[in-house]
Symmetry: C3
Subunit: 470 residues, 3 copies
Amino acid sequence: MTRKLQLHEDRLFPADPGARAIARRLYALVRDLPILSPHGHTDPQWFSRNAPFGNATELLLAPDHYLYRMLYSQGIALADLGVPSREGPSKADPRAAWRLFAANQHLFRGTPSALWLDYVFAKVFGFDVRLDAQTADRYFDEIGAKLATPEFLPRALFERFNIEVIATTESPIDTLDHHHEIARSGWRGRVITAYRPDAVIDPEHESFRTALDQFSEITGEDTYSWSGYLKAHRKRRAQFAAAGATSTDHGHITAATADLSTAEAERLFSRVTTGNFSAADAELFRAAMLVEMARMSLDDGLVMQIHPGAFRNHNRWVFDHFGRDKGADVPHPTEYVRALKPLLDRYGNDPRLSVILFTLDETTYSRELAPLAGHYPVLKLGPSWWFHDSPEGMLRFREYTTETAGFYNTVGFNDDTRAFLSIPARHDLARRMDCVWLARLVSEHRISEEDAAEVAADLAYRLPKQAYKL
Amino acid sequence: MTRKLQLHEDRLFPADPGARAIARRLYALVRDLPILSPHGHTDPQWFSRNAPFGNATELLLAPDHYLYRMLYSQGIALADLGVPSREGPSKADPRAAWRLFAANQHLFRGTPSALWLDYVFAKVFGFDVRLDAQTADRYFDEIGAKLATPEFLPRALFERFNIEVIATTESPIDTLDHHHEIARSGWRGRVITAYRPDAVIDPEHESFRTALDQFSEITGEDTYSWSGYLKAHRKRRAQFAAAGATSTDHGHITAATADLSTAEAERLFSRVTTGNFSAADAELFRAAMLVEMARMSLDDGLVMQIHPGAFRNHNRWVFDHFGRDKGADVPHPTEYVRALKPLLDRYGNDPRLSVILFTLDETTYSRELAPLAGHYPVLKLGPSWWFHDSPEGMLRFREYTTETAGFYNTVGFNDDTRAFLSIPARHDLARRMDCVWLARLVSEHRISEEDAAEVAADLAYRLPKQAYKL
Amino acid sequence: MTRKLQLHEDRLFPADPGARAIARRLYALVRDLPILSPHGHTDPQWFSRNAPFGNATELLLAPDHYLYRMLYSQGIALADLGVPSREGPSKADPRAAWRLFAANQHLFRGTPSALWLDYVFAKVFGFDVRLDAQTADRYFDEIGAKLATPEFLPRALFERFNIEVIATTESPIDTLDHHHEIARSGWRGRVITAYRPDAVIDPEHESFRTALDQFSEITGEDTYSWSGYLKAHRKRRAQFAAAGATSTDHGHITAATADLSTAEAERLFSRVTTGNFSAADAELFRAAMLVEMARMSLDDGLVMQIHPGAFRNHNRWVFDHFGRDKGADVPHPTEYVRALKPLLDRYGNDPRLSVILFTLDETTYSRELAPLAGHYPVLKLGPSWWFHDSPEGMLRFREYTTETAGFYNTVGFNDDTRAFLSIPARHDLARRMDCVWLARLVSEHRISEEDAAEVAADLAYRLPKQAYKL
């Protein structure tokens, strides 16, 4: 017996009828606003080539580490789920992988993945029965058939999703060809890039030296001299800005910043580029580069995003066999107050700079981030991120930051996803949760409904537009 | 004037009528399931001898550090409460101690102790007035009288409580005589042991050397050679397994693990056993032993429980006068991501291993534990523990872990108690709180009630049975 | 169009009608109890001179770092808000500053500042329209006019606010003249002092040496010898006690304590007073002085308050231009379990001592502070502090501490403010939030309403009176 799939109109809203009615009214005001996606990981090639997506497994399961990490945690082999390994594409039969996924839907109960998937299945694909072992084939077939139609081409979905602008993320050694192609194509969808220089900034990245070589090639600068290296950054930042970028993004393991003299920086750069460096040197170099990036932002106006705190590739076996970004990243304690001081001492009061902070360590919301953002003019708080991009995570973000930083030191929602089809689901969830929080404030007479309505629209649209200079 | 004692049918359920109705329906499905108690500290002698318990003070107050720590915090002397000291049993009159306890019930308002006590008083002893200064003697007398009846013998209570299996915790130098006696007795109650080797693993334990000597005696192995020491562990683990054990338990101060070569381990072992070692050596030895224990689990299948993070015997004066486990243990910050890496690098993907993690540091739920358990196949999360074995503690556990680890990387409830009479109260509370959490998800349309019903039963019965191989 | 200002009778109470009705009933019992303000920063000169307050900006905006830090975080210059700088009073026109503030009220949505301000505007000044750009001048004029009337003189407000006792905070080099003057005046208002010796205890304070000199002058002791320095403290503590003080207060950067021998203390004192000391020396000296202060409390009975965890003057530019206490203090991680051990090893079980602990690091509530306070007889927990003096902060305090420490190891509310007019607003908010928490417990049948009523009154009045020996 199949079970009905239906998205309840009031999903995520509080049980109390009075608070729910308020949430409903607020949500009605923001539900249909265009999507701004200022930080994410979709592939620009989808929009430049506009080729059809493949099958359900290839589109929805194999690239989504939220899904396969959970399945893997219960003993299901990554290889059986269609996840590519270092040896190449998975040899698993996509249909068999999909059945495995379908039969284990109970693992996602209570997780945001379940909410996103239900939305994608119901709203994007029109299913009215739930995915399970019984309906696995029906799902696989129908999704495959729909993906082959013009309505499911990337650009058609982009338009259907009412995306006003989406940012992808590229490395300084990326040619930006896909972005240029989109620009030339005449298609009106706005797909911009973001400058993510980790590969040429982190001396401990396994391909740092190769990346520096490519950085030199693509810029014509001597990226093994400190001044050439900085020039290369400036050049590429300008090219990224020309390709629509309004922001940079930095995914260091800590939030450390350092303000070095040119002489100190040169000596350090020489150590890290000759391979003769300690872990402390590597950390100091990453720290110093955040101040360098801030300095460049004063001139080119790119907004800095700092995403620290992930211990990447924690599972050695998975990293050895499957490579990076395979669901084996784990947050660890992150400190901001001392870490950011050198950057803030230098530029913390400069109106030309804007820095958006993220965290995976929720203890910092009320202890460090809200007090910092509630004081420094250059700082804003990014939304609850990654593991915390979830109903409870979002409520905690508001509960722990609003009283000290207010709403106006936050920047609305980031979907931060490579799962393109889930983008409307994620924005819908974020808008609902902001309305849940606001409805609580209204129902407890902590703000007026009139003010809450303004805040709801600000969070959904105006603040991301302004903070990311879209 | 005495005040009425009554347990409200809807206690702990949310105020909202809709959510409460859901919680009620879910709870009705799990209320009467048998109790699985896979981790605790009851005394096997109770069940082997089946002798009557003593008076109210001796049974309920003097051994319960949750109760006397609170009274002590308000200036009431431990000696007056019947708590034994290093000089022997307390000289306090049990009735006087009970009166002191009765007169200070207000201190427990809002604590789980109050909820457990009310349950014990109402459901186990049948009181219908509240304990206070006025009713102290009536309580003391009635409890004493009931404890002398056959219905209140340990085995009768075990059966009345509907306990399917209970695990006690023994040290490697325990003879397990009580467990053998229970087995021989023909009584059908299932009382199993668990292997808790801290005393022979922690070089900083005050009786480490004595324990090693006894470990040698009981195993016939040379416990002062590394290989003999390991053989002794293997022998005793086998004997524990034969006495029903399905798990080991490790209460180190941190979660540190270390994967040493045999040569390194031998040198370290020689240092810690000759008494010529540093604090760092002691920590490294404990860390290395977790990996050794994991290695043995690959063969004998015992599930590993890791309970780190308690600063034991923090109050020097209380330790000097009253000894260990006197309510003066305090949690401190605990790190898992780096600490567990050596163990996980070695065995984190091995299907033969199962490790259940506990914490006293709630900040690790969403930051470290849920991400680790939501990825590694060997890891599961134990329930909220000790100070957090409480309504709010349980809600926080679910709120902070479910979205990343789901329900199926958790293992149901542990009562972890030496307060035998409170076991039904504790399981009842845990089942109610899981239903509260599920009712919230259902009322907010985040999962269906049908799914929630399945999860409720899984948490109350199926998951502990499976995770602990009962 | 102006918008109506009205304080809803049920503000802050839960949306659920049943829980709200309980909260209402509990609140009715405590609403009109006198205000005890045992820790704060009002200026005793207000009460000794009883001179009229100035204009709205000078009274309400320029001294309130909660307000101008938020405005500054959005790029509004401190100088434009009437905030004095190192060069002297602000040159901003008070009316222009007020207009700037009025036009940016949206920044405070969802913050406690908004709730406090609404209360002050509605209840203290009687406004019935909201403050915004349109009403800015009307507010400025009416407030100015009212402040010039006898009803708005400091003593009249003190009486109208129903303040039973208020403590100010003075340094050991303060003459206490204003307190003496109040005592001589015959006015019945009870304004007491508190001993806050940070300036003569922290070797890293910029005016440490100057303060030591003044400390010598005011006491006639040789404050550059260890024994003279201690004598000076004892003398001034006695004088503070004579001026009503019942407590001391210590705002160190960490909670570190140290129990040194006299010889060690003398050597350390000599280093820190000659300026030839390391950061570790300074930290050790502060730590040692907490044990010295505790020792003195054994004799003079002053209650110790420890307020650690603020990284002061984090913004270098703001500190250089505007000085201390300008909204640029940021909490950072704080540890208590190891930090307090030396003090607790020495005096943790001494009935003559009482220590009230505060934190800016909410992670310590359930992990460290509640377990410590739920065991040690000398320890009590101060209320949620500073950034956490807010509805959510207060709820978290109760949620994270009650189950382990109960209500009776807490001490009621501190307003900790220099914003005199907001004192009734702050106490009202605190009383409401305690009733919200209690109403939740009652509605979930976790305590009886009868018990909750007793607790509500204890938290509002009896516990602060007792804990601070008022």
